[in-house]
């Protein structure tokens, strides 16, 4: 019985070490095209990670579609954090260049998004490090667009761009208050 156990363990070890060599190579190649990422944190609740804790959603990030920096309002995107170049953050695009945004807790109440920038927010206001903390983000930091939730299987879905209620660019005619 003991011999069978060690043979099995050796087999498993060979599989695991082979797996860890093959996966980085595949990931590097796919990095230009698509990217799979585990979403951590609660800043995009309830849309992503609704249960929090140990159950994290995994999303498919489409890198090919952002190679020309084209995004729409309402897209969920991954962006290199302006505070830490080694970290990527996943947020929703609320405003594009030229939009006027009413901010939530930013140093200015109203902001016009400068050229070449966009305004991103986490759906879970107050629990999110986003443009309300560090201001408009340069579009050059755009990394990928989340196109699908691929894990857990019961949450498999295509992500369509949608702006949350009351968050979005201000129509200049309505800007009365």
């Amino acid at each position: 019985m003991a011999q069978q156990a060690t043979a099995g363990r050796r087999c498993l070890r060979a599989f695991v070490s082979g797996f860890f060599v093959a996966v980085p190579v595949t990931v590097t190649f796919l990095d230009r095209f698509a990217y799979v990422a585990r979403v951590e944190g609660s800043s995009m609740q309830p849309f992503l990670n609704p249960e929090g804790g140990s159950k994290c959603d995994v999303v498919l990030l489409n890198r090919w579609s952002v190679r020309n920096y084209q995004v729409q309002r309402g897209d969920i995107v991954s962006v290199v954090s302006p505070r830490n170049p080694k970290q990527k953050i996943i947020k929703r695009v609320i405003g594009l260049e030229g939009d006027f945004i009413r901010t939530l807790g930013y140093k200015n109440r109203y902001v016009r998004v400068p050229d070449g920038h966009f305004w991103i927010e986490g759906d879970h206001h107050g629990h999110s490090l986003d443009s309300n903390s560090f201001g408009p983000v340069s579009v050059g930091l755009l990394h990928g667009r989340a196109s699908h939730i691929i894990w857990p299987p019961n949450r498999w879905q295509r992500i369509t761009p949608s702006l949350p209620a009351n968050r979005g660019p201000l129509d200049t005619e309505e800007e009365e208050d």
């Binding site: 302006p82 050059g140 930091l141």
Partner: protein, 159 residues
């Protein structure tokens, strides 16, 4: 097949062509003048080894399809001078976390961090290490002629 060629083109454009860059504009004179060709390397950026005084190529903060070529005057946490050399009262600021302060060598004719503030480190694409053209100025690039870099105690200790 068509898609594969497009894909390959993207990779070559982004990874290899960016190495040989033709610069335009007066903002880095006299170190780099209009139509010089320089060679940039991308390893330093990925290993986070960009230093004060390096000349870098970065994505323009106002248009990600445009590139700018400037010198790093300050890294995160460094003190930089925001007033011009001719001002009577000097003002300073500290570069925020995750950002760099860039200035052109030709201070009188350069739009840089003095105008638009510090830019995120991740916008840097590569470090210029060699000038290739014109032949009479072939070689490594000179140090900053502007004396805008504020040296801290730790910089002089490491020499």
């Amino acid at each position: 097949m068509n898609f594969f060629l497009l894909f390959l083109q993207e990779i070559i454009k982004k990874e290899f062509f960016l190495a040989f860059i033709q610069c335009s504009g007066p903002s880095m004179e006299p170190t780099i003048v209009n139509e010089d060709i320089v060679f940039s390397e991308r390893m330093s950026r990925h290993l986070c080894k960009i230093q004060k005084g390096d000349i870098v190529i970065a994505k323009s903060p106002f248009d990600p399809n445009m590139n700018i070529c400037k010198r790093v005057i300050g890294l995160e946490g460094d003190k930089v001078c925001t007033s011009s050399p001719s001002d009577l009262f000097k003002t300073h600021t500290y570069v925020p976390k995750g950002h760099v302060w860039l200035e052109g060598d030709n201070l009188r004719n350069s739009t840089d961090s003095r105008n638009y503030g510090p830019i995120p480190y991740a916008l840097i694409r590569g470090r210029v290490c060699l000038k290739l053209w014109p032949p009479h100025s072939f070689g490594t690039l000179s140090e900053s002629p502007t004396e805008r870099i504020i040296k801290t105690q730790s910089d002089s200790d490491s020499d």
